[in-house]
Amino acid sequence: MSITVTELTHIYSPGQPQEQTALDNISFRIADGTFAGIIGHTGSGKSTLVQHLNGLLKPTSGKILVDDTDITASGADSRQVRRSIGLVFQYPEYQLFEETVEKDVAFGPTNLGLSQDEISERVREAIQLVGLDYDAVRGVSPFELSGGQRRRVAIAGVIAMGPRVLILDEPTAGLNPRAHQEILDMVDGIHERTGNITIMVSHNMNDIARMTDQVLVMERGRLVMDGTPREVFSHGDELRQLGLALPDAAEIAEELRRAGLPLTGSFMTMEETADAVAKALKK
């Protein structure tokens, strides 16, 4: 499965005084099996972009092809689109509403009209996939769980629909460092296991550098950079001008270089930087 976006533009409230161009002529391609990251300053249009990818928002102009199907065409089957492209919203735990975890996770698959057996099967799989103990949580009210657990339940609710592309909008926003890491490990695990396209919006450059294969940089509705993390994070000055930062590993390497340590190359993870520093000091 691949996603191709061509000249996508979205204008909120066109013709009104509060008219707002949230996406401005965006084009990119995400190849099969890619883990893509989307970064950008607050209000740059990241959430608007991902809501187009599963057909929740219709573009003002432009096209989105998933494989060879145009999901923006007027005759497109929006149910089919939402079934194959799963979107986890920012703060997804706020959309939980059922009495038990099991029922809430079953909401999506039930809407797809699956058989009862298939639904239970998928619900159990999804709950296990997000790292929860199925037998322990299935009968519990989602509102009794901790923040991190609740978010897992919400993510399970999307995974249970069996999407072939998983999109997460800031999946770790507002979590403590430990829950943050656990959610990321979970996302990484799901990506590894399914081999599907995964798209993650994030403000954390370390996570983006460590996890993704492709990075899209948004700025005021425009796509300003598109490349591998190494390519994108080699433009430190431009990123800083956009109000973004480099991953800590690259930041430290740059400081050390300025202090006179001969480091060459680009650094995405702390391990890489540590190795390079050790090598440089041994010489």
Binding site: L56, L87, Y94, Q95, L96, F97, F107, G108, N111, L112
Partner: protein, 266 residues
């Protein structure tokens, strides 16, 4: 989408009407509405319409905004017209099957229609030219004499202010929750009435939870700033009755007097 709905529909511009004391605007709107029901012939309505026209011109609010206020109540007006045309006894003009159209009915319907249109335009002018916050300040000030009879004027006004402030927030929240449930395959647009009513549960439950969360946060924030009602408080923007207001009041009283005289003399 849902965000495009304007509530409280204040139209920001600089005009004499915008600057008037909100208390004066509230009272004169109420009196205008009472006057509309006092009028009983076309000349009276012509005078009332002329008065409204003057205010519209002075307020600089574009006419399409004013007419927009009429759209949602169009059905009610149509319904009133039909009821009045067919249900009034009197001299029969036309007879269709069991229904009669009478001369009195037509006149009644015309009066009622004009009355409703003027009433809605008049009251939407109040909200178009007055910020919601000034409006609640005005209401608080008007209600404050009743404090001595135990009416919690300040609390009422505070509740109104908070409600107005959070309408856009809750609309945004609804939009987000709807999208999130749609992403999980929820369908709000098709199916029987019962199905559609059921489809609201996944929106309403999270929405109520959000509303309570927002209320709790707000209460905490107010308490952290030592908000307490019951104490005499000063305000940042005092409402003042200026000379312009006095002038406007004189003109308005003359306007009312003309309407009363017209009714008595014709």
């Amino acid at each position: 989408m849902i965000r495009d709905i304007t509530l409280g529909q204040y139209y920001q511009t600089e005009s004499v009407i915008h600057r008037l004391d909100p208390r004066f605007k509230i009272i004169s709107t109420l009196l205008y509405i009472v006057a509309l029901f006092f009028i009983d012939d076309f000349i009276g309505f012509a005078i009332a319409w002329l008065g409204l026209e003057t205010v519209i011109c002075l307020s600089k609010v574009p006419r399409r905004f004013i007419l927009k206020g009429l759209r949602p109540v169009f059905l009610i007006i149509a319904f009133t017209l039909i009821i009045n045309i067919f249900m009034t006894q009197g001299q029969v003009l036309v007879e269709i099957w069991r229904f009669h159209i009478t001369k009195e009915g037509l006149q009644m319907a015309a009066f009622m229609g004009i009355r409703l249109v003027l009433l809605i335009i008049g009251s939407s002018l109040l909200t178009l030219t007055t910020r919601p916050i000034s409006l609640t300040d005005g209401i608080e000030s008007l209600l404050s004499p009743f404090k001595r009879f135990g009416l919690p004027a300040h609390e009422l006004a505070m509740m109104m202010t908070i409600a107005l402030r959070f309408i856009p927030t809750l609309l945004e929240e609804t939009d987000k929750i709807m999208k999130a449930q749609q992403a999980r395959g929820a369908d709000f647009e098709s199916g029987s009435l019962l199905r559609r009513a059921k489809a609201l549960v996944p929106i309403l439950v999270p929405l109520f939870i959000s509303a309570f969360r927002i209320a709790q946060d707000l209460a905490m924030a107010m308490e952290a700033r030592c908000y307490g009602s019951g104490l005499p408080r000063t305000r940042m923007h005092e409402i003042r009755f200026t000379r312009t207001d006095a002038g406007a009041a004189v003109v308005f009283v003359i306007f009312l007097a003309v309407i009363v005289l017209e009714r008595l003399l014709w």
